[in-house]
Symmetry: C2
Subunit: 153 residues, 2 copies
């Protein structure tokens, strides 16, 4: 089983890339993990067409039987402990676990249909910073699953 984290658009800020890579390195001690950035070179003028195009790029990294979870302001909120419990249950299921963070446009409606979504906060974060926050949260989840000392309530 692989956990993939697919993001739309390249991470721009060097300081965020440093932080993201730090947590990816730590995360790989616990799980097979892939960080995938979908490069949007020239956004299409039509928003819906652009979302459709991003959706096709995202689906290239998915296989039948994979579980997709979208990071979305309107998604379900978790505590770090509850999220770790949820991840722990997914580890025993067949297929890969694929988290998707969208662009400023959001997601193609057909792509997210029937899929669960997670909200990191009631506050809105930048699309770039969400990547850092989420990889740290994934890392935290595995330290909780392994009963390590990283997380404090």
């Amino acid at each position: 089983m692989v956990i993939k984290f697919i993001c739309t658009g390249k991470t721009q800020e060097a300081y965020l890339i440093t932080g993201i890579q730090l947590y990816i390195k730590r995360l790989k001690h616990y799980v097979r993990f892939e960080f995938i950035e979908i490069d949007i070179k020239k956004p299409l003028p039509d928003k819906l067409q652009q979302l459709k195009s991003e959706s096709q790029s995202i689906l290239k990294h998915c296989q039948p039987g994979d579980t997709l979870i979208f990071l979305d302001d309107k998604g379900k909120s978790y505590t770090s402990i509850k999220f770790a419990e949820w991840i722990s249950k997914q580890l025993h299921k067949p297929g890969n676990l694929i988290f998707v963070a969208g662009s400023a446009y959001g997601f193609d409606a057909a792509l997210v249909k029937d899929s669960p979504s997670i909200s990191l906060s009631s506050f809105t974060f930048t699309h770039q910073m969400v990547r850092l926050i989420f990889v740290e949260q994934l890392y935290r989840a595995f330290t909780i699953i392994k009963n390590e000392k990283y997380h404090h309530e």
Copy 2:
């Protein structure tokens, strides 16, 4: 009126310092802002004494009439818009606006008594990363107050 953001302990990670400084620079276009890190050189062995000592250091930066707001997992959650509205109202009040982020120990009970607290998320973030997330959120609040294009719903 000055907005102060008081954090317990030095920021360690260089990539976070870069990000925090970036948003502080942007924030200063809108408001007088001070980022204050309270240096804890040798934490006291007793947790309550340590919190009392941190509390005294925090209060050195506060004056009567200032409003203190604590960043706390169990605090009130806001959307970025609601937070901007709240900040906007505070700008017309006398005294400074002082946000406080604690250490892993939390806060001295006597310090937080009767003060409002804000929760950035139901997830737990690192004490260091909270600083970056919060300065971005403060910057975002001012772009919302000024009706600028940074924030998208």
